[in-house]
């Protein structure tokens, strides 16, 4: 393997990792704060993609500039957060916080099953492709290989902005501190007047919107079709568990490991590319049971 190929694999890996990270971010945020592993996250991802395609198709058919696709992605993500994330938390999850975690997980599994069919009823079974956002940014050529600016530059940039933005939000803003306080000790937070219900609702909306944003950002690069969420969710699980549940920086690093592992595998041994995320997960958890960045829960007696 020469340097060129090494760099090419690096670029591919980073572009892929960026997208995986954005999706996993919402999942890990929700888990970190609410201790719920949201299986329906995959559906939110898919619906974010579908909504983007629908919105872009509609507005661009009115003759508006393709650059409008970018704000529309944000709109789609926010719609997913508010119209789906909100009701899921408010109507369903809120009623089961005191139940065993298996039931919480199954509720989101049920929502996943329902949303899979909802997608099909609304958007049908034919794949959609809406690449105007990607085309608007054009290509760059590196070592004679053409990349899209969208995948090589925009996606990693967005991922980085989200990583830094969320860190800043959680550590530096009052709202972020309220969320962290609730995460650490719900009862204590309530006793000092934090409305934990509102914090949870907000977190879930933001997490769902991040899932939707992942789908929105993925939409110009891939076919939007039924079942796309089911694949993404397992990959996100792998990222989140490997990173340590609730670990944002860890998720970024893990996504990078998985992205690079996969792209190098395609260059070196394509047959194992699909195994890479799970192998990384097992190997990491073998050495560090709490995930890369997780801290072991001390048992007090």
């Amino acid at each position: 393997m020469n340097l060129t190929i090494f760099l090419l694999a690096l670029f591919d890996g980073i572009a892929y990792a960026a997208l995986v990270f954005i999706v996993a971010l919402g999942l890990t945020l929700i888990f970190g704060v609410m201790r719920i592993l949201n299986v329906a996250h995959g559906s939110l991802y898919a619906i974010g993609a579908y909504a983007t395609v629908a919105l872009t198709g509609f507005f661009l058919s009115l003759g508006l500039a393709p650059a409008l696709s970018f704000p529309l992605m944000l709109v789609a993500a926010i719609l997913v957060g508010i119209l789906l994330g909100g009701p899921i938390e408010w109507l369903l999850l809120r009623r089961i916080y005191d139940k065993p975690e298996v039931l919480q997980l199954l509720v989101t599994f049920a929502v996943f099953m329902i949303l899979e069919d909802v997608q099909r009823l609304v958007w049908g079974t034919q794949p959609y492709f809406e690449a105007r956002a990607l085309q608007a940014l054009g290509n760059v050529t590196v070592f004679g290989v053409t990349y899209t600016v969208y995948q090589l530059i925009l996606l990693p940039a967005v991922a980085l902005v989200l990583l830094l933005g969320l860190r800043f939000f959680l550590r530096r803003t009052i709202l972020g501190k309220l969320i962290t306080a609730t995460t650490e000790d719900r009862e204590a937070a309530q006793s000092i007047g934090i409305d934990a219900d509102k914090v949870f609702l907000l977190t879930f909306i933001v997490g769902a919107a991040l899932g939707g944003l992942g789908g929105a950002l993925a939409s110009p690069t891939t076919s939007i079709l039924p079942g796309m969420g089911a694949d993404m969710i397992v990959l996100s699980f792998a990222v989140v568990a490997t990173a340590g549940l609730g670990q944002i920086e860890g998720a970024a690093l893990t996504a990078l490991m998985i992205g690079l592992g996969r792209s190098f595998a395609v260059y070196v041994w394509p047959e194992v590319a699909v195994l890479v995320p799970y192998l990384i997960m097992v190997l990491v958890l073998l050495v560090r049971p709490e995930g890369l960045f997780g801290s072991p829960a001390a048992r007090k007696i």
Binding site: L103, V107, M113, V282
Partner: protein, 338 residues
């Protein structure tokens, strides 16, 4: 300290309830007899019931783990390992005996259960669930990827095994398989109940409530969990092997994560932790699924999802819990009247 009550009669612990519930035993026997009559009175349902019971055995495996408070999101692994073990055996030795095929499946599940189990019993809660998921997805990827060995996504066809040296037509074979499945449901169900009530099973169950005390009883919580994990893998394996033989084909979909989710789904639907609930849940699930996909076309997933939500929100004890609630209320009323 001196609350006087005839405690023995009033509040029995789960362990005692299981073995002394003679009414429950009779109910279970009645249920098995009723099912045994399916091929005679409703032959069109025979295969469906057979598949549901096979799935029920796998769900029983998940149920066992729920007793220790652990949820596996990867038990489809053992389902698939056993089914593929059976398929490979039949490919290498066409016309192998049904019992040998099932035994090979159970053995495959046991061996893989031991290997994976040694590793995952170090984890609890969500990590336990996720690691099991990871292992099942690795196996799934291997099945998909190593096409030349595993047949890839189309899987492997299983020629019909012989039964005690006899070659059989589909109809006869399916009857034998059906009754054999039913016998295994009865036998393994009974064994699981006994095991859960036994000292080893009780130690296993305490992983759910207090591992510190378990350690201070001189018992390794990991080993206690491993014993139940092995049982659960074997149960899943027997279910998977039956499923493979009944379907005549095994595909990587057997190991797919949604399958594992489905098993947990059914376990909760039937009544989390309940042995008969595993089979009742599987029967209900398969019937809803088949009839929904026959009559509601492409929204069967939505119906099942809605069904699950209703159960969790309004009857978290599952169908068995619902049944117990009704009978208890009935009993209470009876007492009042008397």
């Amino acid at each position: 300290m001196s609350i006087h009550s005839d405690a023995g009669a009033m509040s029995r612990s789960p362990a005692e309830k299981e073995t002394r519930m003679t009414a429950g035993t009779w109910l279970a026997i009645a249920g098995l007899v009723l099912l045994a009559a399916v091929p005679i009175f409703a032959p069109s349902l025979q295969l469906l019931v057979n598949l549901a019971l096979a799935k029920g055995l796998a769900v029983l495996g998940v149920t066992v783990l729920l007793r220790a408070g652990q949820v596996s999101f990867g038990h489809a692994l053992y389902f698939a390992v056993a089914a593929y073990a059976g398929a490979f055996l039949l490919a290498a030795w066409p016309g192998a005996d049904l019992l040998v095929v099932l035994l090979a499946g159970a053995l495959g599940a046991a061996v893989s259960g031991l290997l994976v189990g040694l590793f995952v019993v170090r984890y609890r809660g969500i990590f336990f669930g996720m690691l099991n998921l990871a292992f099942s997805m690795i196996f799934w990827s291997i099945l998909e990827k190593f096409y030349h060995v595993t047949g890839g996504a189309d899987g492997i066809r299983l020629p019909r095994p012989s039964v005690l040296g006899m070659e059989m037509g589909r109809h006869d074979f399916e009857l034998v398989l059906f009754w054999l499945t039913l016998a295994l449901v009865g036998g393994l169900g009974w064994f699981t109940l006994r095991w859960l009530a036994s000292p080893v099973g009780q130690l296993f169950r305490t992983v759910k409530t207090n591992e510190t005390r378990l350690e201070y009883l001189g018992v390794s919580p990991r080993r206690a969990l491993l014993s139940g994990y092995l049982l659960s893998a074997v149960l899943c394996g027997v279910g998977g092997a039956i499923m493979g033989v009944a379907q005549g084909v095994v595909t990587p979909e057997y190991a797919w994560w949604i399958r594992s989710g489905e098993m947990v789904f059914i376990a909760v639907l039937g009544g989390a932790g309940s042995v008969p609930g595993a089979f009742i849940g599987a029967l209900i699930y398969e019937f809803v699924r088949v009839f929904a996909s026959a009559f509601a076309g492409d929204v069967w997933q939505m119906l099942l999802g809605g069904f699950l939500l209703v159960i969790i929100l309004f009857a978290p004890g599952g169908v068995v819990g619902l049944f117990e609630r009704v009978t208890r209320r009935g009993a209470a009323k009876g007492e009042e009247a008397a």
